[in-house]
Symmetry: C2
Subunit: 341 residues, 2 copies
């Protein structure tokens, strides 16, 4: 089969690899209908010295093609969604709703089984794959695909930051996660959602997905603008969707005293001094999103269309052109690329 | 009147200072019945280069001696308790229950009006002083005094860390705040309270106040012991009551994935890398305790005796001997000193 290979130096190619196959009793093989490129893939794309070639891709919807004998509750031909990380569904963490801490788990594509491919092997398929009541041509598939990662991650930011009806919310970041975080805050009843975006062209999309206001200033000027917009207080909840030292500085400058930062941007080079916010009684809550927990909760709204983040996909390519997708996202020409093998 | 003066180099003396007096319409003067030395005073005591002489002390119960015309709801002769920081009771933060963020507020003794003295000026007295239904000789006064800071701060750690019935809780620190945090966790229904203490003699006191288990190991061995005690998981809630790089390392090593750290130790030299706990979905919540909010909530239990943290006062001195109190706490001979002018 064909699959994407990412090598040191941003070298992305589609190559022939051994077919995905059932290797363990709980495995499934899923033929990919749609996959995506994630902002976190770009960290590796830009990295000049990754450990070696990887098989990227952790977002996909597809059709079950083969099942191991213990992959129960599924049938061949079913359209399914997977969370970006698999887990065994049986450990204490899985049972507690934190599948991302499952010792048997991993992110698709981190070591193997990347989804930017024609097919993907899914471990513990019975615990991870969520059957979808639709066929492979359903126009809602891209919207549903956002639950694999970016919409679940945006929802995680908003719930960790305790967004509640009437809250003022600032979203740091205008990538797909930031845009989905705005949608999540809106969905949870926020009274005012402000998105910090350095990218003028994304304002319209942010507004369509849930932002009331888009702030284009950078650094202290952005925080000052958020304070103006929130009666001098700062935001009740800040959703940190980038993970850099600068975005954390924006988050800390933007949140009100006693407020909460929901952090979901993969941190790179951030150092926090709690003395700097001790007097302000801040809460920091977040991390890698337990998407498998959120999918059943959010799926009905994606199916009904009351929640539709599919607008984050503003670039569509065939598998053969996946390198274009990386380039477009790297240069910020595209928010997020949808791959249709 | 006589008051404590703290000068650079740990020089503590009691000297004559101008009498405390009503200077603003909302002021009161309170004659001190009991004051205390706080762990945070020791940071300044040990500091070789503080800004200059200060008048320390932010914990006191006393008797109202004089009132300004706008210090309503109080009467001369009343026994009262103050929180460690005053606030104006009228700003947005005060009304939202976060008086420590009041722009007009400050900690007693930080710049003026220290309570390790015969009397203290209280600003915005109507908003800060809590009348107590007792006379000045009541034996419950030391217990009630803990609400000024250490018991309220321990409660803040426990509530920020979301301690709930059945929780496993690890307390980092065996100072007065740590001991009160153990009492707070017990009060909130924790199933198992573990206190990390490097000080063998404090084990009995910790147990009396609420600890089920006292762990004397240090560093990784302490965290390993907490994991053993919590079925391999780590604690649901960790109460960080010290504020050093080492205590934060213990907190991070001790908390379970998905758990919360309630941080109330004044941070000194701590740098947190969220990448180190991103995959573990940790929540950090805390800061300077809004004691004025907690006092009315907890006071009935102190009055009834169902909550009694007075055991933290294991050293009692007259005002003239306040230097002894600092020395005893600095050398960890005493947990906390009670001063009776």
């Amino acid at each position: 089969m064909r699959a994407t290979i990412l090598r040191p130096g941003g070298d992305v190619r589609v190559e022939s690899v051994p077919d995905a196959r059932v290797e363990q009793p709980r495995d499934a093989v899923v033929r990919v209908c749609h996959a995506a490129v994630c902002g976190s893939d770009l960290w590796r794309y830009r990295d000049r010295t990754p450990a070696g070639p990887i098989r990227p891709g952790h977002e996909f919807v597809g059709v079950v093609e083969a099942l191991g004998p213990d992959a129960t509750g599924l049938r061949v031909g079913q359209v399914v969604l997977a969370p970006f990380a698999w887990s065994d569904g049986a450990c204490e963490h899985c049972l507690a709703g934190l599948p991302t801490s499952c010792p048997a788990g991993a992110v698709f594509g981190d070591n193997a089984d990347g989804a930017q491919a024609e097919a993907v092997r899914v471990r513990y398929a019975d615990a991870n794959l969520v059957p979808l009541p639709m066929d492979r041509d359903d126009s809602r598939l891209p919207a549903v695909l956002t639950l694999a990662d970016v919409m679940s991650t945006g929802h995680h930011a908003a719930t960790c930051a305790r967004v509640a009806p009437g809250a003022t919310v600032a979203v740091i970041g205008d990538g797909a996660v930031g845009l989905c975080a705005a949608a999540a805050a809106r969905r949870l009843g926020a009274a005012h959602v402000v998105v910090l975006s350095h990218h003028h062209a994304r304002g319209e999309l942010a507004r369509r997905l849930g932002a009331d206001t888009v702030v284009h200033e950078r650094g202290p000027a952005a925080a000052e603008r958020v304070r103006e917009l929130t009666g001098g207080r700062g935001a009740d909840a800040v959703l940190e969707c980038v993970g850099t030292a600068g975005s954390w500085a924006d988050a800390l400058a933007t949140v009100r005293d006693g407020g909460a930062i929901g952090y979901v941007g993969l941190p790179h080079g951030v150092a926090l001094d709690p003395a700097a916010f001790f007097d302000r009684n801040l809460t920091l809550s977040g991390g890698i999103a337990p998407a498998r927990r959120y999918i059943p909760h959010l799926l009905p709204e994606l199916l009904s269309g009351s929640l539709d983040p599919s607008g984050v996909f503003d670039h569509r390519v065939g598998l053969a052109d996946v390198a274009d997708a990386y380039r477009a996202m790297h240069t910020r020409t595209a928010v997020k690329a949808l791959i249709t093998p």
